[in-house]
């Protein structure tokens, strides 16, 4: 019997809301950003990839072929199509837009990178946020110059539909270091979450390679090891005391995998006992900061042969508090809400599908209008 047919019998109804923490809206061409950018930068937009460097060859295209709005338009480029093909089809209560500028930290020119980020944010607010009340926006920033990044956060941070700042875990130095404080100060000042979403690892000015040991040969190898960047940034942010310095700061690891967290968390707690004297600013075990300040999104959910093993991992990482659902629509490795949520135990399912995100983004308080 086919596996598809077996699954039908175990279907359950998801009768509460779903908040999707990772939806990608995109421009069709960098030239779409022209109206939002000073003339001085326009010539670069015509160049391949808007001059953002990339080595990646994808055996499977980044966006789903079956999610194109037609007329050669890119999946995720038409809010009207996305409303029907995504929000309505999956009955999504809120979709958090994370954009398509996640390689922005690769560029050598911090002013150009910041100008592209600003243009993309304005394009998103004009074209997507006004289109359907269910969308919420992340604003993207270029981390190359944290002062410019903070200005962008202050420029848009009070917009009622902006709920977080998105950056890539690809960087030239770990995010816990003081160089990045202006970004955290601005996020806290504007009551915004910081989301780390994969993009540009090992490319352009991001000198650490995709893996810790050098550049891999294939996209398979690259994709397998992407979570190492999330692990490295979480480790840095916690150990450097960012959550002591910014007690209201919240960070989300988006699309970075889940199962690695128990290992890293236990290792951090064990090592803390011995080496606490190096980090006297940490008042609690590293895992306690993670539980209070860090959140993780589901997609691409790990799929062990026996999913009960994954449930065990989710329990180890207190998923009922720390994990939030995401589809990654319309990217190639997106997850269908039913495919993921139906596998979870009832109590965990409700928390992951809706409540953890509603609490983090204060959706019932601020963004519900």
């Amino acid at each position: 019997m086919e596996i598809a047919e077996k699954k039908k019998s175990s279907k359950t109804r998801i009768d509460y809301g779903i908040i999707d923490c990772d939806v990608h809206q995109t421009i069709n061409s960098y030239e779409d950003l022209k109206p939002y950018m000073p003339r001085v930068w326009w010539d670069r937009l015509k160049e391949p990839g808007g001059t953002f460097p990339s080595l990646v060859w994808r055996p499977i295209p980044l966006t789903r072929r079956d999610a194109s709005p037609g007329n050669g338009l890119l999946p995720g480029s038409d809010p009207e199509y996305a409303k029907k093909d995504f929000l309505d089809r999956y009955n999504i209560s809120k979709g958090i837009l994370t954009g398509s500028l996640l390689t922005i930290s690769t560029h050598n020119n911090p002013d150009y990178a910041a100008a592209v980020a600003t243009a993309f944010n304005d394009w998103t607010l004009d074209n997507w946020i006004t289109h359907d009340d269910r969308w919420l926006a992340s604003i993207v920033i270029a981390t190359q110059d944290p002062i410019l990044a903070a200005k962008e956060i202050d420029r848009l941070g009070s917009h009622p539909k902006v709920c977080q700042v998105v950056i890539s875990p690809a960087s030239s130095q770990p995010y816990g270091q003081r160089w990045f404080y202006p970004i955290y100060e601005a996020a806290v000042r504007n009551n915004l979450v910081i989301a780390l979403h994969s993009g540009g690892e090992g490319e352009g000015i991001n000198s650490p390679p995709i893996s810790a040991v050098g550049q891999p040969t294939t996209n398979l190898e690259r994709h397998n090891i992407l979570p190492i960047h999330q692990m490295s940034q979480l480790n840095s942010i916690v150990c450097e005391g960012v959550f002591e310095r910014f007690p209201t700061l919240k960070v989300v690891a988006v699309e970075g995998g889940l199962g690695w967290l128990p290992h890293l968390m236990w290792r951090m707690d064990k090592n803390y006992i011995a080496m606490r004297k190096e980090v006297p600013w940490l008042k609690r075990k590293p895992s306690e900061y993670i539980m209070d300040h860090y959140r993780f999104t589901t997609q691409p959910i790990e799929e062990p042969e026996n999913f009960q093993e994954m449930i065990q991992m989710l329990k180890f990482m207190r998923a009922e508090k720390t994990v939030m659902f995401a589809t990654d629509y319309p990217h190639w490795d997106n997850d269908d809400p039913k495919f993921v949520l139906n596998k979870l135990p009832e109590e965990m399912r409700r928390r992951v599908a809706y409540e953890n995100a509603a609490e983090l983004y204060q959706l019932n308080d601020i963004h519900s209008q």
Binding site: A4, D66, W332, F339
Partner: protein, 124 residues
């Protein structure tokens, strides 16, 4: 003996000859089921339009070849036109037997196709 007694499944017309270009795939609904009819240039294939992984519309993917099993760093391209890639996660299916190349536990249903009087017929 059992062969003789076995009830023949009915045939349904899904397209006319010439309607589906070489390399093209027409998605049709037959008996309540969505099916992709693919023309590989020599014959027609009927494939269930549901990926056994996350139930995406499989036949909206692309038909292609792929790399065959080989030694490390040896590249042998084969199965040209015989592999259907799911538009979501890129899982590869052999259109001749429906098997997923990466994990043969997953299989998509394929149906018998015949051509009768310029009509493409699917038996299901």
């Amino acid at each position: 003996m059992t062969e003789v007694l076995k009830k023949e499944k009915p045939k349904y017309e899904v397209a006319k000859i010439g309607e589906i270009e070489v390399g093209g795939c027409k998605i049709v609904k037959v008996n309540g089921r969505s099916i992709g009819i693919y023309n590989d240039g020599e014959k027609y294939h009927a494939i269930r339009n549901v990926c056994p992984h996350e139930q995406a519309e499989l036949c909206k993917g692309t038909f292609s070849g792929t790399t065959m099993p080989s030694k490390p760093h040896e590249y042998i391209y084969g199965m040209e036109g015989e592999v259907l890639l799911c538009p979501w996660h890129g899982w590869e299916f052999n259109i001749n037997n429906g098997e997923c190349l990466g994990d043969t536990r997953y299989k998509v249903k394929i149906y018998e196709v015949s051509v009768e009087n310029n009509r493409i017929m699917v038996q299901m």
